[in-house]
């Protein structure tokens, strides 16, 4: 079992203790600090491991440029759903975050933009009211200040513990994305492993530009569910980034080490006009 490490800038070094992380693909063990240095890419086999929201942002934005927004918005348990309160507590401990998405403004190579990063360590990055609200607010404020939005997406889908409220976040965020787009602003979605369910069926697929990380799982229905309901054998590489690229649903697949360069290039190409 591959424990997710907490690389949280807001934690002190004592909490950020080094442990060995086992690669799920090749089994190689790498100390967490070295792995982190290598952008969570296994030095032995090149497999991409999941990154926390803060690490993700630090990887691409200019040092010291991040201004977090709406950091105190958090989930409540509107339906008194069995076990949800405990799951939220565990998610906070596991991720070091108070909610499954981090939002703010930052600069990439000096260009100002609005950014959000979801965190798979927080209830699999699922979207409840708080995640929906934070992303909606980010698009709204970016619309007001005419900023491009870059979203790092990872999510198991809507958070079922919030019932219909979570489903409706898909429509809510879509509305905010639409308004941001209608005002002529750029939205780039970066899909990372995994991006599934209601997130794929909303803002993950609404970017002007959609980038994916190599081998990221991206889909709507769960692979296991498809297998069970249809009895069909899933093809090799099903619902992986390369599969989506082949079928025309994403613009490009980018190496994690080149992501900052590519995002910066995209931003520049959308700022310098004739």
């Amino acid at each position: 079992m591959w424990g997710r490490i907490m690389f949280n800038l807001f934690k002190n070094d004592k909490e950020n203790k080094i442990e060995n992380i086992t690669c799920k693909k090749c089994g190689a063990e790498t100390p967490s600090d070295a792995l982190r240095e290598n952008l969570m890419i296994c030095p032995e086999c090149g497999a991409y491991m999941r990154m926390g929201a803060k690490d993700r942002l630090n990887m691409v934005i200019d040092k010291g440029s991040f201004k977090e927004l709406d950091k105190n918005i958090k989930s409540v348990d509107p339906l008194s759903f069995p076990g949800y309160a405990e799951k939220l507590d565990a998610a906070k401990k596991n991720s070091g975050l108070i909610e499954g998405v981090v939002c703010g403004e930052a600069k990439i190579d000096g260009i100002k933009c609005a950014v959000f990063a979801m965190d798979s360590g927080f209830m699999m990055g699922s979207m409840g009211s708080a995640v929906g609200e934070k992303i909606t607010r980010l698009f709204e404020s970016a619309t007001k200040s005419k900023l491009p939005v870059i979203g790092f997406i990872t999510s198991g889908g809507a958070r079922m513990q919030e019932g219909i409220y979570s489903l409706m976040q898909m429509a809510k965020v879509s509305g905010a994305v639409r308004r941001h787009a209608d005002a002529g602003n750029l939205y780039t979605a970066v899909l990372t492993d995994p991006t599934t369910g209601g997130i794929t069926a909303s803002f993950a697929m609404q970017g002007d530009i959609i980038i994916a990380e190599p081998n990221a799982l991206i889909g709507f229905a769960g692979a296991r569910v498809i297998e069970q309901t249809t009895g069909e054998k899933l093809p090799e590489g099903f619902q992986r980034a390369e599969f989506l690229l082949e079928h025309g649903f994403i613009d490009l697949i980018e190496d994690r080490r080149r992501l900052k360069y590519t995002l910066s290039n995209i931003l520049k190409l959308h700022t310098k006009g004739w």
């Binding site: 918005i73 958090k74 989930s75 409540v76 509107p78 339906l79 759903f81 069995p82 076990g83 409840g128 009211s129 708080a130 929906g132 609200e133 809507a158 079922m160 919030e162 019932g163 219909i164 409220y165 979570s166 489903l167 409706m168 976040q169 898909m170 429509a171 809510k172 879509s174 509305g175 905010a176 994305v177 639409r178 308004r179 209608d182 369910g197 209601g198 794929t200 069926a201 909303s202 803002f203 993950a204 697929m205 609404q206 991206i218 889909g219 709507f220 229905a221 569910v225 498809i226 309901t229 249809t230 069909e232 899933l234 093809p235 099903f238 619902q239 599969f243 079928h247 025309g248 649903f249």
Partner: protein
């Protein structure tokens, strides 16, 4: 507690009922001179979604309805009412045509969810739904969505971005099926009744949460009577929404969804 569980789940069972009318019934009964239009002009035609134009009383409307069919043969042809990406794309194509001619749109929703299969994924099931949410948020014509049966998650929401959301008394609308929820949470899909209760998926719950605007009572009414009440309400709503300047209509639509959610 137990009887209450059965309450929510009983609604799910009723909403899914084999003889419960779906989109096709309401379109036939409510719309005059209906012409069905086929295909998404991209890949194919999805029989799980019926779409076309006709008169509501004496004014033109575009109608889109999910339909699973009655006979086994028809159900196979209609994928048991589970739309494929082609269905959502056909619906969007017809909605855009409605926008061009300033015709209001009525959507009838009743499906266990978007079709789940390899081909549907290959052809972008997620993208098709996402596109509908995005486009419907900006469609410059009134949209009335009615949940007539089971409103199954994103596959239902793909026709559910609207100005007025209506549910029939015994319909349900949920982020996940109670069976799916129970098997994820408790590894036991037979606990669906408990999950149904926990999910708060009845029309009454959603009205209380202000997620929907109206419940059409079913009581002991016949299908014809329910359809007639629904028709009167839809006409009234379209008349109200048609009076609004387009900018106001879109602002209100945005606000309607914008305010949904509870957080700390």
């Amino acid at each position: 507690m137990n009887t209450k569980s059965e309450g929510a789940y009983q609604k799910v069972v009723t909403a899914r009922g084999g003889h419960r009318p779906m989109g096709g019934y309401y379109i036939n009964r409510m719309i005059d001179n209906f012409i069905e239009f086929h295909g998404d002009r991209r890949f194919g035609d999805d029989a799980a979604i019926i779409g076309g134009i006709g008169f509501l009383r004496n004014k033109p409307v575009t109608v889109i309805g999910m339909e699973r069919g009655d006979t086994m043969e028809e159900r196979m042809r209609r994928n048991f009412g589970c739309p494929t990406p082609e269905g959502y794309r056909k619906a969007l194509r017809l909605m855009k045509e409605a926008e061009k001619f300033k015709r209001p749109i009525i959507c009838f929703i009743g499906s266990s969810g978007a079709y789940c299969g390899i081909d549907a994924e290959k052809r972008g099931q997620g993208e098709a739904i996402a596109e509908n949410l995005y486009e419907m948020m900006g469609l410059k014509t009134p949209i009335i969505s009615v949940i007539v049966g089971e409103g199954g998650s994103g596959g239902a929401l793909a026709l559910g971005v609207c100005d007025t959301a209506v549910m029939l008394e015994n319909s349900v609308y949920s982020v996940i099926s109670p069976e799916g929820c129970a098997s994820i949470l408790w590894k036991d899909s037979s606990k669906a009744p408990e999950a149904a209760e926990a999910l708060h998926l009845t029309a009454q719950d959603l009205y209380r949460f202000k997620v929907i605007d109206k419940i059409i009572e079913e009581g002991s009414k016949s299908n014809e009577e329910i359809c007639s009440d629904l028709k009167s309400f839809i006409i009234e709503e379209i008349e109200n929404k048609s009076k609004l300047p387009t900018d106001d209509l879109l602002k209100l639509r945005y606000k309607k969804f914008r305010k949904i959610g509870v957080c700390g």
